[in-house]
Amino acid sequence: MNRREFLKSASVLSCAASTGVAAPAVWSSASAQSARAETLLVVSEGGPNNLDIHGVGTNRPGYEVAWNCYDRLMSYGSKTLPDGTRSYDRDKLTPELAEEWTETPGSVTFKLRKDAKFHDGSPVTAEDVKWSFDRAVTVGGFPTFQMKAGSLEKPEQFVAVDERTFRVDFLRPDRLTMPDLAVIVPCVFNSKLVKSKATAQDPWGLEYTKQNTAGGGAYKVSKWTSGTEVAYERNEAWTSGPKPALKRIIWRMVPSAGNRRALVERGDADISFDLPSKDFVELKAGGKVAVVSNPIGNGIQYIGMNVNKPPFDKLAVRQAVAYALPYQKIMDAVMFGLAKPMFGAGSNTVTDPVWPQPHAYNTDIAKAKALLTEGGYPEGFETTLSFDLGGGAVNEPLATLVQESLAQIGIRTTLNKIPGANWRGELLKKEMPLIVNFFSGWLDYPEYFFFWCYHGQNAVFNTMGYKSPAMDTLIDGARAAAAKADWPTYTIDVKGFVDLAFAEVPRIPLFQPYLNVAMQKQVSGYQYWFHRQLDYRTLAKG
């Protein structure tokens, strides 16, 4: 080969590159156009690792598959929020697979739809429902845990009365039992199909449902390339609700946030899901696409302190920290204003039995300094401030601001960045003195949040290791009162535990983050869900 040949081949290549430039004339052909109109292209950062919500370690995107491909007995209604956006309605259960139900103090009996069929055409029977519920409470891990949150614990509770009648016996009165039957976990599997794929080592057929959807929901997965794409086809025989408008859904994983934004701004992607606040603010200012944001129900970003070790075992020290946090700065510089402040209330004694609600701590360095002296640390102290790198985009600047602010009252903090994979393990040890963290619960009830985060049962989310008999009495009282619909007692207990949480400040709420979604203006029907994933059934284009 000589120099001329080298140069020639180089120039051929650059010519090829310039013709390739004009290549994507894909949208122009007529068939592609109509396919485009009936197809929704969703882009998000990550994809599912398992198509089955009962699987080991199914991640959040996996919930989206389960939600759209399986039916549950009931779902939630929807409502319009004051800002005009749509949300699910916590207080309204609507028929899905069950067309009606009757509740008695001891049980609830569901009547299944006559015409309900699985994707393979076989009818949905009460036996399938029982098998699915038995599976959820038996396989262990997250599904079993979530069922337990609604006092659904034993297979004996679930009775297939006849082909179309299914009964759940209550173990104890629990307000959360009915709502818990409408979350993602108690979905209905095609038991005959899954059983035929089960093996001795895998009696519940988890290996099969990991890769295949075996339900009767509005969509079925037609192709799944893990880490790259999930493609769905509409189930034309679906009867558990109005027929969805979109025939196909293509969900592509685009790891780079900048590119997701470019895709939706250029009109190539229909929905960019779960945007960072900064992109959201800029997209909104750009005005090219529709943007929606809703507060994450029962979700709070907070500063937690380990109450079992000095110096945070002293109330005055915790209060000092609460008065030294740069609340407004965090809202402005970290969240770009896109979050609901959880500070700035007039008083730490609340008037409404609701959660989340703001506390009355504000940034008051002089007061913080005085409290720190009162707590016995006039010179301050040294400690570490830990956070999850997995949520680094929010946690890192937030922690830096907190570090800077605490330094003003003499608390010298070292930032401890913990990789996402280690975070939960570290939380479980309950040894970190000071942390930045986020928690949200599926079921949007104050007593549910407090049961996980403040109760002496010491769940992983009680990251402060906080234990108080008074708090436990109030939380248990509220749960019992809610189950009996004893609202006066419930109100007293809820206000009581919120007041106590604010007075003792083992954790300091900062803000309630938003779930941000950007979509083309022609996309309609988006609604916020407690699971923070997309429901394709109500979405439409054009």
């Binding site: 894909v26 882009v43 690792n49 390339t225 790259t228 990789p419 994979a421």
Partner: protein
């Protein structure tokens, strides 16, 4: 020649065994608890313990290692928890994507860098030499993700010349039936020009990104190697004998300067396979680099081990290939010491 290849392969066996042991130990020693990560949002110590048992992580290390080796012997690399797929399938699906991108990037890079390097050496101190220096400096000092994002911004977002950075093929195209796993090759093999165009339009931008990054070492090495050869006695003799400059440069000097260039190419290739993680992230490319990183972040052992193993084997094969090419370029290499 065959004996040499066999011998070379034999020497690779201990290194592969070493790689297996070291990666196994490293993934176990690294902080991070798989079970805690995969126990889901409402993890309790009990839920975590259940998952540990399920994954066999409660067994002592030697038992885990034996199980791992036993699986390896049957070609089972384990199952990835992040993607939910067998690691072997994941790697088989993803390695061609990375290899296609890397090879194309390298090809573009060679086609630009080698002529540039030769010209720079022949015309030392001229404008083309300065150009070579500028290009090399720019290429090496721009991080790949930055170049990638910049190119996406200019060619996709601003100019609209490149398609959406959505991976190997457009959303409305089906991938060609895998023969080699290279979309460009497979689509041509079955004569599907449309698919070839679709695949080409997706790949050229990430390939150029990689090419820009790998230009520098190749151009610099070509230049340096050529300069050394051009200054040597036999070139002077060839020139003095009145041979044409082309004949001297390409026929004598370049062939002798090629050995270090090929070494650099080998190094750049293996380097690129690893470095294109960021390019894969930017272009949503379903390659092996982003796969391994993802697995590492979630303490997902099996894919990390599978990745390291695949890379080790690839590296051994690459070195073997380079050794063979050496022999072709310079017969003296073939003579055993």
């Amino acid at each position: 020649m065959l004996a040499q290849i066999a011998k070379r392969l034999m020497t690779a066996v201990p290194s592969i065994i070493g790689v297996i042991i070291v990666t196994f130990l490293l993934t176990r020693v690294l902080p991070g608890d798989t079970a805690a990560y995969f126990a889901g949002p409402a993890a309790t110590p009990q839920a975590i313990a259940e998952i540990k048992t399920k994954l066999g992580l409660d067994q002592p290390l030697p038992v885990q290692f034996l199980a791992y080796v036993k699986d390896l012997a049957t070609g089972n690399l384990g199952t990835s928890l992040t993607t939910g797929q067998p690691v072997f399938d994941d790697i088989r699906a993803r390695l061609p994507a990375s290899a296609e991108l890397t090879l194309l990037g390298l090809l573009i890079s060679v086609l630009v860098a080698v002529p540039l390097g030769i010209l720079a050496a022949v015309k030392e101190g001229s404008w083309i030499d300065h150009l070579c220096r500028v290009v090399a400096t720019a290429g090496v000092s721009l991080p790949v993700f930055f170049t990638g994002l910049l190119l996406v911004y200019v060619f996709y977002f601003k100019l609209g010349w490149a398609p959406a950075p959505l991976g190997r093929i457009d959303v409305f195209f089906t991938a060609p039936e895998p023969i080699t796993g290279f979309y460009l090759v497979d689509s041509l093999l079955v004569g599907d020009i449309e698919t070839f165009r679709a695949a080409w339009s997706q790949i050229w931008l990430p390939a150029v990104t990689l090419a820009i990054f790998s230009l520098a070492p190749i151009a610099r090495m070509t230049r340096a190697s050529m300069l050394a050869v051009l200054a040597s006695d036999f070139v002077r003799t060839a020139r003095a004998s009145g041979l044409s400059p082309t004949k001297v440069v390409m026929g004598y000097a370049f062939r002798n300067a090629l050995l270090p260039v090929v070494t650099t190419l080998g190094m750049v290739f293996s380097f690129l396979l690893g470095a294109n993680v960021l390019v894969e992230k930017v272009f949503a490319w379903p390659g092996i680099g982003s796969y391994a990183i993802e697995a590492l972040i979630t303490s997902d052992y099996a894919p990390v081990q599978g990745f390291v193993l695949a890379m080790a084997i690839l590296y051994v094969l690459l070195n073997l290939g380079i050794d063979i090419v050496y022999g072709v370029i310079d017969p003296r290499v073939r003579i055993e010491a």
